[in-house]
């Protein structure tokens, strides 16, 4: 799923926003409130430690268990991509 694909429902929009809120709260406190759901999280400072903390966050807050095959740069590149991963519609196949 391309990272620029707009969410199709209001609920979907809510998931992306929840992800951004969780990322701001736990990983990137300086993330602007205007940060777009398809904006690049790596450019905003997400690093290798942050990725694994994101994996934990997905498990604890979003009940999504990340498999090794899901651990791709694309899946963690934006809130939209992460939301797609949670919905099970990520481009990478689940192991």
């Amino acid at each position: 799923m391309p990272s620029s694909t707009p969410p199709s429902t209001g609920r979907a929009q809510g998931l992306e926003q929840s992800l951004l809120d969780a990322i701001r709260e736990n990983l990137l406190p300086d993330l602007p409130t205007s940060f777009a759901i398809d904006a690049d999280l790596f450019s905003a400072g997400l690093d290798s430690m942050g990725i694994m903390q994101m994996v934990l966050l997905l498990e604890e807050r979003f009940t999504c268990t990340v498999q090794p095959a899901d651990l791709t740069r694309h899946n963690f590149s934006s809130a939209a991509a992460l939301a797609a991963l949670i919905r099970g519609t990520a481009a990478a196949p689940r192991a």
Binding site: D47, S48, M49, Q67, P68, A69, L71, T72
Partner: protein
């Protein structure tokens, strides 16, 4: 901090600086040197000797911590510090030029690059805590290619810091007026009681670990011996096969776990060859806790690491993919239990102890060992730095030194798609047959060569 602003200042050790200083002490006892590493960059063309000399002189003026002295017990701060003395002279970084005999020129002739690397890694740095902590060597090994070799003390820099230093050097090369980043003085990090409480989680982890026997190449001994290394820089074709092997274990962010497993399997092969068939492998893999300056730049100097420990039983290493999955889960559990922060709190407390006492306590608790091996995936070398120091960058990697125990370490990196493996050990911890056994194992795992 820019040129001319030389004031007396003390920079307290970071939590991980203290542990690195303790390992540095082990190296001093082993061979009289320090825990150093070298960073090697292969560049197309010919070196500009005048400009390199200018760079060696300019760097300590732009980055004063290159000239700092190590004060083992700073009284007001009650921990080791780097101290900048206003009256100290600012010497250029040591710089020497070399060439292979097959290349014409007037530089010192060396028999081989390998011989030069070995010699540089054995040159003592920061003797009695004084500069130089970094030196620069240039070696022409072909008529149109040369090596920039930076040898550095691990007490002052870590693997990420040296890459930041190389980038700063490259920026200064491009623009002599470039103002390099400030260093961030560290703030006091809370009360000892708070840190003690914060360190409890990793304390429980280590208590469980003490029930395991995890042998290393040095077999828990503090040995006498000089640093040795073996560098395997893969060709473009081999690097493609390597990348394919990496893809089989999962997504492209599995790199750290994949390399940890490859390092563990190479050491398991060593232990099997020594008749230790049911070994547990324990690895401490560094993870960065790097602060930023007020300008938002990551700080260059000092060590800013915590350690995440992976524990793998002998049979859990039979299959690379399963082992990667296991390590990934261990990583998530470490973060869930905040072991990364807890270990940093533990090191923050421990830096107030003399290094030798700290190591003695750790080794007593772990039957003489620290870990089974040192390991890190040092990442993509200078990502995006395709052109530097007057030529195209062709290759680059780090050659870290190691202490004994554990006596050996396996390190991996990538530059412009070219992969490299570096095995470092302390002389007498591995023999040439054992190096060959480990190499056969990593070539099997990375390139699919015949089963070892």
């Amino acid at each position: 901090m820019t040129a001319g602003a030389r004031q007396s200042q003390a920079f307290p050790f970071t939590p991980s600086d203290g542990f690195i200083l303790a390992l540095d002490g082990l190296c001093h006892r082993a061979w009289g040197g320090c825990l150093s590493a070298s960073t090697e960059i292969e560049i197309e063309g010919s070196p500009d000797r005048d400009k390199l000399s200018w760079l060696a002189a300019a760097l300590p003026r732009r980055l004063p911590l290159l000239t700092a002295e190590l004060c083992p017990a700073h009284v007001p701060l009650r921990c080791p510090c780097w101290v900048l003395r206003p009256d100290a002279s600012v010497e250029p970084l040591p710089l020497a030029f070399h060439r292979l005999g097959s290349v014409a020129g007037d530089e010192e002739v060396v028999d081989s690059v390998e011989q030069l690397r070995t010699r540089l890694l054995r040159m003592p740095l920061h003797v009695d805590g004084r500069p130089p902590h970094v030196r620069i060597d240039v070696a022409r090994h072909a008529h149109d290619r040369w090596l920039l070799i930076i040898t550095w003390s691990h007490v002052l820099l870590d693997g990420v810091g040296i890459e930041l230093l190389v980038r700063s050097m490259a920026r200064l090369w491009q623009d002599p007026h470039e103002v390099l980043p400030d260093h961030l003085p560290l703030e006091p990090d809370g009360s000892a009681w708070q840190r003690f409480q914060d360190s409890a989680a990793v304390g429980k982890f280590f208590f469980k670990l003490s029930g395991k026997h995890f042998p290393s190449a040095s077999q828990g001994r503090i040995v006498r011996g000089a640093p040795l290394h073996f560098v395997e820089s893969f060709s473009a074709g081999e690097s493609k096969r390597y990348a394919e092997a990496l893809r089989t274990v999962g997504g492209d962010l599995m790199t750290v776990f994949f390399h940890a497993v490859i390092a563990a399997r190479a050491h398991r092969a060593l232990l099997h060859a020594r008749g230790i068939r049911r070994a547990t492998i324990v690895m401490g893999v560094p993870a960065q806790l790097r602060p930023k300056t007020s300008e938002g730049e990551p700080v260059i100097f000092q060590n800013h690491m915590t350690m995440l420990y992976y524990v793998l039983e002998n049979d859990e290493l039979d299959d690379v993919t399963s082992a990667c999955r296991l390590i990934m889960r261990q990583n998530v559990e470490h973060l869930r239990n905040k072991h990364h922060l807890s270990f940093s709190a533990f090191l923050s407390l421990a830096r107030h102890l003399p290094g030798r006492l700290m190591l003695r306590l750790v080794r007593w608790q772990q039957r003489g060992e620290l870990v089974s091996l040192f390991h890190s995936w040092t990442g993509t070398f200078a990502r995006g730095m395709d052109f530097a120091f007057g030529g195209r960058v062709l290759n680059g990697f780090h050659i870290p030194g190691v202490s004994a125990p554990p006596g050996s370490g396996l390190f991996f990196s990538d530059c412009q798609g070219r992969k490299a493996v570096v095995l470092s050990w302390v002389d007498s911890c591995l023999n040439s047959d054992e190096v060959a056994i480990m190499r056969k194992q990593w070539r099997h795992d990375l390139l699919g060569e015949t089963s070892p």
